[in-house]
Point group: C2
Amino acid sequence: MLNIDPLANNSLFRGLNENDHNELSRISVSQEYSRGQTIFLEGQDGAGFYLVTSGLVKIYKLSLDGKEQILHILGPGEPFAEVALFAGSTYPANAMAIEKSSVVFFPRKAFSDLISKRPSLALNMLATLSLRLRQFANMVEALSLKEVPGRLAAYILLENEERGKNGDIKLPIAKSQLASLLGTIPETLSRILAKMTKQGIVTATGSSISILDMEKLQELADGETRLS
Amino acid sequence: MLNIDPLANNSLFRGLNENDHNELSRISVSQEYSRGQTIFLEGQDGAGFYLVTSGLVKIYKLSLDGKEQILHILGPGEPFAEVALFAGSTYPANAMAIEKSSVVFFPRKAFSDLISKRPSLALNMLATLSLRLRQFANMVEALSLKEVPGRLAAYILLENEERGKNGDIKLPIAKSQLASLLGTIPETLSRILAKMTKQGIVTATGSSISILDMEKLQELADGETRLS
DNA sequence: CGCTGCGTTGAGCTTCTTCAACGATCGTGG
DNA sequence: CCACGATCGTTGAAGAAGCTCAACGCAGCG
């Protein structure tokens, strides 16, 4: 096969047999979204959950006056909107494709039936939700206990561990989106990045960031230091 | 029996049979904590999870300079630290008894074995975690998109729905703790409550709050209005 | 080539925190 | 039962962090 099955290699479905995978393929529906297209809105009836197969999807909340807070950014292999399956029936936030994306949709009922019969599927799902709870706890901590420089530093370090190798990072999202993810606005992010650059902590050109002073970045992320 | 079994009536264990309940009783351990006593600390090995049977427990994060952000307040019947079971092995935050409390502790291994054999237990746990994810999403939204008056208004309204009847609320926690839960400090909370009182939205005496203008409170919580 | 979205920079302002002092409340031991 | 201390809550004044508004440069794309 030229196209690898997006379902087969996902950790969410680890431990399932061939039949289960066929069943999953049978009940799921592939969908395409173009950049900026809404996948669902907060409050809508949660008809099922999704898995990203390509592209990038953001989960976000909006205030009345239009300010956005991104809760998650999801890439290939990552599920979203699982919450709607198990508690309440509506989506708790909005979902939009940041870039051209493909997702697989799993209708609620069919998936519920399968999960009731497959303990390993339920356990995998528990692991997924638990990981997300951990991320949320860190996000609340960041928003409440850290200032924007600290949040940005933590983000850069995290990104460096996950994608960067030698301290060179390519931002996967636009800076305005990063601002929204960090709980601030583009202007503030821009100013702080400029300040970090001026102090020799990083260099930033376009969507590339290079870490110059890893130690200082770590201190900022931990809240040991101010940017002054 | 004089003492009702705290395990039998919990929604987490709904759908389990008599044997399972006996098994749960067998593997669990009762613990007592006095006011202010630490139950576990962030980063410690997560040896299991807990269920509050009486009293009040807070889950919280601390910054280096000692500021506290409360993530949850848990009362009788509510479980906590389930996350440590399914993702990572360490506790993601600190837990402390706010008042004299009794909890039941379920050691990791024994509970994992049971959950693997009882699909309904896994599903109940999924429902619990999903609900918590929803709460976290709302908390992030509040911290990032609402100002303190809005957060306080939302808290009062929520508390009124859950415990209050006719708009009279008895705060279950100290105001300093409420400030920490709302992501602010006691001084700010005090000032805003005073302002709300001055504007005839609520009256506050000690730990009692009475709602005078429900509509205005709702507008504040939704972000439609400022306190001016 | 022009338009539109993104990013940057500046000035002023709002919200919230910090620091400090004081008052109230509650539990406890004398 | 009262007195005391500790914790909690309130209020004021000053400062800091981040937001708003506005203008402008730049790049990408049709």
